[in-house]
């Protein structure tokens, strides 16, 4: 299989509670809508084909894997390089495009979970990349070594912080306890981040040699970037502090998850007609469960077989 759809950062549907999914959808939608407005204002007509094709390039670039050790391989995620090449607003759009198309076409990440995945990769990934990138660029004062050090660090931090966000979302949804999800996701991505950093530097080296003008070294930052810088800082700090805290006190987060699980279903039960029975009319619980199971299986196969039968009888169109 050339394209492996399993990437640990792309959360599938089912793993996030509805509330977490919807809240993150709203946050992501607002962020993307704002980024779209900024891109339209700052960059103009030239930008549409550039962002679209670069999104395709990042997708294709994710296939350029390299062997790390023992059958595992590193590959690119792309938030950092997109930020460095296009600036934060366009990078949000590019990553949104990549992550959305991956979910829609390749089921790489869920559709209801897409809001959360966009938040992790397009919002947190880009904001953290931008924060790290501009901070160290300032220290390097436009020197070229800055680009490479910065590229590696921005890539590493964006991956690790985004994975912490994903871990916290899972913990908040009551799917994976924080004291396991945070160290596991964070740990894996500290390694994956090294690969991301190395590839990002490789790509920057190539671009620096071929078209240094694309890297905008020493150019003035675009307007409004202070807000992104602050956003990146805040997100990085909150996630870096919150996740170990949550990991050390999983009960706290669990409690939130429970509360929220309660909220999710607070409207029911609507009809308490048969509260004590698993299956209407049968009092023995184990027996009723078995009957329910059999009825379920019969329903599934009955419906499926019925459809198959009707389908076969239909004249071929």
């Amino acid at each position: 299989m050339l394209y492996s759809p399993v990437q640990p950062m792309h959360i599938p549907d089912g793993f996030l509670s509805t509330l977490v999914s919807i809240v993150l959808w709203v946050i992501s939608a607002i962020s993307v809508a704002y980024a779209l407005r900024r891109v339209g204002k700052d960059l103009g007509e030239r930008q549409a084909p550039l962002m679209g094709v670069l999104a395709a390039a990042i997708f294709a670039g994710q296939m350029l894997n390299f062997t790390v050790a023992g059958g595992t391989s590193g590959h690119l995620l792309g938030a950092a390089i997109a930020t460095i090449l296009l600036g934060p607003w366009a990078a949000v759009i590019v990553m949104t495009t990549v992550v959305s198309v991956q979910a829609l076409i390749f089921q790489d990440g869920g559709l209801l979970a897409l809001g959360a995945n966009l938040f992790n990769m397009a919002v947190v990934g880009v904001a953290v990349s931008y924060f790290v990138y501009t901070s160290i660029q300032k220290l390097a004062r436009g020197k070229s070594w800055g680009v490479f050090v910065v590229g590696a660090l921005a890539a590493w931090f964006s991956i690790v912080i985004a994975s912490l966000a994903a871990a916290l979302e899972l913990a908040l949804s009551g799917t994976s306890p924080a004291n396991i999800a945070v160290p596991a996701m964070g740990g894996i991505h500290m390694l994956i981040g090294v690969g991301e950093g190395l590839i990002t530097v490789g790509a920057l080296t190539f671009l620096y040699a071929a078209r240094p003008d694309l890297l905008h070294i020493g150019e003035a930052a675009p307007k409004g970037s202070a807000a992104v810088w602050t956003g990146g800082l805040v997100l990085a700090v909150i996630l870096a502090v919150l996740s170990p805290l949550a990991s050390a006190h999983p009960d706290g987060l669990e409690w939130v998850a429970e509360q929220q699980g309660f909220l999710d279903t607070a409207q029911g039960p609507l009809y308490n007609v048969i509260p004590d029975y698993v299956f209407p009319g049968i009092t023995n619980e184990a027996f009723a469960t078995i009957v329910a199971g059999i009825v379920g299986v019969v329903i599934v196969f009955g419906v499926a077989l019925g459809v198959a039968y009707v389908q076969r009888k239909r004249p071929t169109t």
């Binding site: 089912g14 094709v53 390299f66 209801l112």
Partner: protein, 268 residues
């Protein structure tokens, strides 16, 4: 070389394929939302949802086997939910001694785990059916219909168009790398270089891919300008809704709504 295999669309002459993409898109989202909202351990509802999606798979002519094979690829994520079996407290199911530790599995934990895995499996099947039965351009129209901004829709379209072209290029780069990745004949010589070096090589390839993308986008921009592009993204108005489309949408939503009420009423 053309990478058709990347495009998940599978052409069949089925009513599922013929259904208005907007209806399919909304119903898929509604199905996933229903699965998400269905309470833990509401097994009959999960079974009914499974019956629905399996029926759609058969009706679409894609076949249950095709969808199940693809859905299996996306399921490794369930590992992330495995710990809940042991961390949720409740009626003890079994205990697992590991050295000095003892893990206690609970019935409630197992129920939560199986529910999460089922939700995920049902949702991914729905997403697979949508992608395999709907051409991407129609999906794009459906997204415009539910109100995603035009510029974003244009991005999705451009990305999808050049995905295949750039993946072709990435494959050519990788083939060129493989063709030159020989192994030394001397005993004990280590081939392949260090990890950092390999990463740098992959990075260089990614860089050249980005550079080509930049240059291609320049040429595309010129091609757009020469046909009158002025920076604003324009598109034809969407085709009108048919009565059949409206009816399927209403019936589908009503059915999913009933399932959800049923689930929440008895297991909520």
């Amino acid at each position: 070389m053309h990478l058709h295999f990347l495009d998940p669309y599978q052409h069949r002459a089925s009513p599922v394929h013929a259904l208005d993409a907007r209806v399919k898109f909304v119903l898929t989202l509604a199905f996933i939302l229903t699965a998400s909202l269905t309470p833990v351990a509401a097994w009959p509802v999960y079974i009914l949802l499974l019956a629905v999606i399996l029926s759609v798979e058969i009706l679409s002519g894609l076949g249950v086997g095709y969808v199940l094979k693809r859905s299996a690829l996306a399921l490794s994520f369930v590992l992330a939910a495995l710990p809940v079996i042991f961390t949720i407290q409740g009626q003890t199911l079994f205990t697992l001694p590991i050295g000095a530790w003892t893990l206690t599995a609970s019935v409630e934990g197992l129920e939560r785990f199986v529910s999460v895995a089922l939700k995920s499996w049902l949702s991914v099947q729905a997403a697979i059916v949508l992608a395999a039965s709907t051409r991407f351009p129609e999906l794009l129209q459906a997204m415009r219909a539910v109100g995603i901004p035009r510029l974003l829709a244009a991005m999705f379209g451009l990305m999808w168009r050049y995905l295949f072209v750039l993946v072709d290029e990435a494959m050519r780069l990788m083939r060129a790398r493989a063709a030159r990745s020989g192994r030394g004949t001397e005993a004990g010589s280590r081939s392949g270089g260090s990890v950092a070096w390999r990463a740098r090589v992959a990075g260089g390839m990614a860089g050249s891919l980005f550079l080509r993308a930049f240059e291609r986008s320049d040429r595309i921009y010129v091609a757009m300008l020469s046909r009158g592009y002025d920076g604003e993204v324009r598109a034809l108005p969407l085709p009108p809704f048919t009565g059949a489309g409206r009816l399927s949408l209403a019936a589908g939503l009503a059915f999913l709504g009933l399932l959800l009420i049923f689930g929440i009423a008895f297991w909520g």
